[in-house]
Every structure is written in C-alpha cells, then in structure tokens.
C-alpha cells in the first residue's frame, strides 16, 4: 500500500462564515459564531504590503499566519506549498478584459501579482523565508494534491512544511466557468515527526481508480463545500476539529486518497 504519514502542528481556516479554526470547531458543535468582518486581516504582512497585496494573497497569508502561530514554529524555517485551483481570478478577469480592449495599458503591478506563486512570493518576503516554496494546482483536487506534495516534502526532506489551499470568488465572465462563489482557505503545518505542538497524526493512503466515496463531512453545510474548490479541505478540517476518524479526498482527477486522523492522546 502506497502511503505517507505526517503530524499536524497547526491549522488555519478563513471563509466569509469562519474567522479561524476555533470558529469551525464551534460551528461543528452547533454553536453560533460571529462571521469575520470584511477582508482577511493577514496580519503577518507588513502594512504596506497588506495595502498592495491582491485578495488571493491576503486570504492565503491569513490562514498561513493562523496555522504557523498555532504551531509555534518560526515561519522563516518552514518550506511552503501554496495550492489554489484558480489563482487570483479577479486579476485574471482584469487582465483578460484589459488585453481585449487596451492591451498596452496593462498594469505592471497587476501582471506580476498574477503569477500563481504570488502568495508564496509575498509570504516568503514577509517572513524572511529562504526555504523551498511551491505553488501548485490540480483543478478540483488542488487540496488533496497539495497535501500529498506537502507531506512528501516533509517526510522526504525531514522538515516542517506549511500547506495552504486558497481560492477567492470568481469575477466577471470567468466566474461562469470557475464556479467559485465565495472565498475559502485553509492551512496546515505538517511535520515528519511528532513535535511539542502536535495535534495528531495524518496517515495518507493512495487509492488508485477510486474517487467515489470522497466524503462530505456530515456536519458541514453543503453550501460551504459547493462555494469553492478549496473547500474540498472541509472533510479533513472537520476531522481535525472533532477527533479521530477517516475521510477520503481526491489526490488527482482519478486518484482517491484515504486519510486517517489520529488525535494526540
């Protein structure tokens, strides 16, 4: 059986309904939660960068900051994997609309912010991180594929890895084909061995040819799952919030991945 195990040292979550992982825990217990006000605060970014950064960067930096703070690790030491199914759709919409009408007026700043690794770039600059950084996607399987990439890096190189999976809402004509109706982001800090801040262990097993049964977490509102490809993390996030159990994620379009979560005793 083909698999890999990692430990989880920190978790971050942000959506229009959830300000952080504590809010997800509360929501899953059926408690009322206060939705976050406005944009993701992304306090890790310096104020100037926070003003300049596009929404995709704020969203990714917010959950990354939450997960790293919970883990107690120094962000500068963490390798990072930033997954997103669609990148910054607002910038893609702006670029395509501008190129169709006045291409010579394209904004240089929006262009360099359009790269899929913009969140990784802003994050490594803000945290002084010289470790390897990656930016990945896999259509609707971006979270599972990103988790596999991050776990493999953690175990192969014996180092802690920050995984972020984030998508903002679609904009303009593009929204019709991306189907993203609301932002969603989550982050995990993964380590090869148990550390002081370890919450528990994730065992990942690839299940060839089997994406059927990719589990919807029973307690999560279906509307949350449908709003964003990055919400594919919710079944796992619900496990982390509720205790030991199993779920199945997509690691690729035709490759399932069973996830077993063992909460630290």
């Amino acid at each position: 059986m083909s698999g890999v195990s990692v430990h989880v040292a920190g978790v971050g979550v942000w959506s229009p309904a959830l300000a952080d992982f504590a809010a997800l825990r509360a929501a899953l217990r059926g408690e009322a939660t206060t939705p976050p006000a406005g944009r993701p605060p992304a306090a890790v970014l310096p104020a100037g960068e926070r003003r300049r950064a596009p929404e995709s960067v704020l969203l990714a930096a917010e959950v990354a900051g939450q997960a790293v703070a919970m883990s107690g690790f120094d962000a500068a030491t963490l390798a990072c994997v930033f997954a997103s199914s669609h990148g910054d759709q607002a910038i893609t919409d702006y670029m395509c609309a501008t190129l169709a009408t006045v291409p010579a007026e394209l904004s240089p700043t929006r262009f360099h912010n359009s790269v899929h690794n913009a969140p990784a770039g802003y994050w490594t600059i803000a945290t002084g991180c010289h470790a390897p950084s990656n930016a990945v996607c896999a259509q609707r399987a971006s979270f599972g594929a990103g988790l596999l990439e991050a776990a493999a890096l953690a175990v192969a190189d014996g180092r802690a890895v920050l995984l972020v999976c984030a998508d903002i809402a679609g904009s303009g004509p593009l929204a019709e084909v991306t189907g993203c109706t609301a932002p969603f982001a989550s982050a995990l800090v993964l380590t090869p061995e148990a550390a002081g801040s370890t919450l528990g262990r994730l065992d990942l097993h690839l299940c060839p040819g089997s994406i059927a049964g990719a589990s919807a977490a029973a307690a999560v509102p279906p509307a949350w799952l449908e709003a964003s490809p990055s919400a594919a993390a919710l079944p796992l996030l619900a496990l982390l919030a509720q205790g030991t159990g199993r779920c199945r994620l997509m690691a690729a379009a035709s490759l399932g991945m069973d996830v077993h979560w063992e909460e630290r005793a």
Partner: protein, 401 residues
C-alpha cells in the same frame, strides 16, 4: 545541507521550441549556432519585440477524442508529446508499472490563459463567454496537466507546478520525492507555455522586453525575448535504464526579497545551487557545463554572472541558451534540462548566443561560442518571479550499459 539522493534515470526526454520539433532539430540548431527568434508576428495588437514561436502549432489540431481540451497550449503539448518516441516510452512504462504508479508533474506559468483571453475578445452580447469557449477545464491553470493525464492515460498523482519561470525545473524535485517514498514508480515531468497576450504585454508593461533579439550577458542587453515551448522527460529508477542519463540532484530556495526583481546578491539562487550540489554529492569543480537562466534582463544576468564567477573554476563552462529559444517562461526549466542532457550526449557546450560584448561581471567560465569538450556533469538554473529558484544536476549514464 541535504543528504545525497539516489540518482534517477532520465529514460526518455524531448523538447519542442522555436528551434524546431524534437531533439534532432535542437541539436542541429545548437551546433550551427542558429537562433529560432523572429520579429513578433503573434500578439493580437502590434508590439515591437522578438519572439520564439513554434512553427506548426496552428496546424496541430488535437485528436477528436480530446476536442474539449482544444487551445494553443494543449496543441503544443500534444505536438511535443509526439516527438522522439516519447508516447511509446510512456506506453511501455504504463505496461511495466501500471497507470496508477506513474506520477505526472507538469510546470506552466500561464497554462491555457490564451484561450481565456480569446474568449474575452469575443464575449457574447450578454457579456458571457462564447458557447464554444464554455469549457471550464481550459480556463484553469491545471488545463495542461489535466489534458496530458488524459492523453497519456495516467491515473497516478497528478500536479501542476506554477512558480513562474522555475515551474518545469521544480517538477523534477517533486517527482524524485514521490519515487523515493514509494508513492510512484516512475514520473512523467515537463512543462508547456505558449505565447499569449498576457505575457507579451505583461512583461512589456514591466519594461523587461527587448525590441531586438535578446542578448544574454551582453553589456548592452536590454531585456528578454519571450518564447514558447513544450518538453517532457520520463524518470525511473536506475535499474530500469542503466545507460540513460541521470538526474543527480536538485535544489530549491526562495529569495525573500521582491516579487519581480532577484535578490541583489543572488542569495536564493546560490542556496538552490548549493542544495543541488549537496544532493548530487558534487563539488563545483566536477561540473562541466551550466545552462544558465540568463534571461537578458539587466538584473538577472548581473546577479547570475556574479554567482557563477564566485562559485565555479574556469574549467566549468557556462552559457545561456535564451538567445536560441527565447525565454520560454514556465517551460524554460524542461527545455534547458533537455539542452543540458543534449550537452552530455554530444559533448557540446552550446555558446551563449546573442552575447557579443561580455558584461564585466562575467567570469572566465562563460562559453561565448560553441565548445566541443567532454561534458560528464551538467547543471541547469531556473529562477522565477516571487524569488523562486531551482537548480537541476544531470550526469551521463553508465558507459557501455
């Protein structure tokens, strides 16, 4: 520093760029010092610059079974897959290992955004995408890998790496980790990027595009020439192909400096280089050839020339081949890996085409013209926006195996 890795066999590889379709066209152009650049005849509005355009993409329609993936980027991917017996090599690997045991890891910076641009140029009267463009998978950055997974009938781990111009170098690192951990037995790696308005007008807006064919490491260099390309490689454990060239190591690191300007001392680039040498268990003096990132932008070339001058002895030869292909962005890693592998195969150090008046920062390592000499170990540098750096190390296979 990381531990040395067990090298992998590069049991098949191919490249298609402005130099032509497949490896023979690349070898011939390199030997003749013939550039593939031409005056821009691509963008939807005029733009005075030179480009590395691949001939024949317009005629290379996808087979009807893949019609929903139609777009320039996937056409170039399909054209590239059909060179150098690559499809047969993957088919043999599929038989040997099974379709779920071969990972597919592809790099791209813009994937098929050219199709999204086209859809926006001819929106419906109601402001929506035209009916023929209502194909969600081609409007996502995973379009390339989604198409290639279907075209190669692979069902293992499948991931797009999109770290701008280091994308298709970093896929080698991801593949090695998956194989080392037993999550895959082999991997198809590579990358494709095609010309599109986004990159032509985007780099133009950043004032990084030259009006003339690019001149890497020349004192008078004034910007890049954008190109397009497709390249692929099949990685397996060495026992499957002992005579094949080898991936000895790789390094990855971040500048933590600026979104579109390299670290002034090349800190991330040097970390990636030293990481690659450590994984490959190499000393700098053992490196015979380095294919440089060498974009012909002011900053990149200044920083990279200084890095080579301070790390390597004069016996290590170095050149940029962007003067041949243009800067193929997310495909640069794989195209230049292929050129490094050709250097090993033919004992040819390609000259730094386009540079005639060397920048004073360039050391004695630079090969300004072709050099016929033994090449046993070759590196390839790839650096991207966001300060994303990668370096690959390759070597010849087992002699007489």
């Amino acid at each position: 520093m990381p531990e040395p890795i067990v090298p992998l066999a590069v049991s098949a590889f191919t490249a298609s760029s402005a130099l032509g379709h497949g490896l023979a066209a690349h070898s011939a152009a390199l030997e003749q010092a013939r550039s593939g650049l031409r005056a821009n005849d691509f963008s939807s509005a005029p733009l005075a610059c030179w480009i590395g355009r691949v001939d024949g993409v317009e005629q290379a329609a996808l087979p009807p079974a893949f019609a929903r993936w139609e777009c320039r980027n996937n056409r170039l991917a399909w054209l590239g897959l059909n060179q150098d017996g690559f499809l047969d090599a993957v088919a043999a690997a599929r038989t040997r290992y099974g379709k779920a045991r071969i990972a597919l890891l592809l790099g791209t910076s813009t994937a098929s955004i050219g199709a999204t641009e086209e859809a926006y140029r001819r929106l419906d009267p109601d402001g929506g995408l035209p009916d023929d463009m209502l194909r969600p998978p081609i409007h996502a950055p995973h379009s390339l890998a989604g198409f290639v997974a279907e075209a190669l009938a692979l069902e293992g781990p499948c991931l797009t790496v999109s770290t701008a111009c280091s994308s298709s170098a970093k896929v080698f690192a991801s593949a090695e980790r998956l194989i080392r951990l037993g999550l895959a037995d082999a991997a198809v790696v590579g990358g494709v990027d095609t010309l599109c308005d986004s990159v032509l007008f985007g780099f133009n807006a950043l004032e990084l595009v030259s009006r003339t064919p690019c001149r890497p490491f020349d004192r008078a260099r004034d910007g890049i020439s954008i190109g397009e390309a497709a390249g692929f490689a099949l990685l397996e454990r060495i026992d499957a192909a002992p005579a094949a060239p080898r991936l000895l190591g790789y390094g990855e690191a971040s500048d933590a400096h600026h979104m579109s300007t390299p670290h002034p001392q090349g800190l991330g680039a040097e970390l990636a280089l030293r990481d690659a040498l450590a994984r490959a268990a190499l000393e700098p003096a053992q490196v015979d050839y380095i294919n440089l990132h060498g974009t012909a932008s002011q900053k990149n070339d200044e920083v990279e020339a200084a890095l080579i001058a301070r790390v390597f002895p004069p016996s290590t030869r170095a050149s940029s081949t962007k003067g041949f292909t243009g800067h193929t962005l997310g495909a640069a890693g794989i195209v230049e890996a292929a050129i490094a592998l050709l250097a090993l195969e033919h004992d040819l150090v390609p000259g730094n085409l386009g540079g005639t008046d060397p920048d004073p920062a360039c050391g004695p390592q630079f090969a300004w013209r072709n050099e016929a000499r033994p090449v046993r170990v070759a590196l390839s540098n790839s650096f991207g926006f966001g300060g994303n750096n990668a370096c690959l190390a390759f070597a010849r296979g087992e002699a007489g195996a």
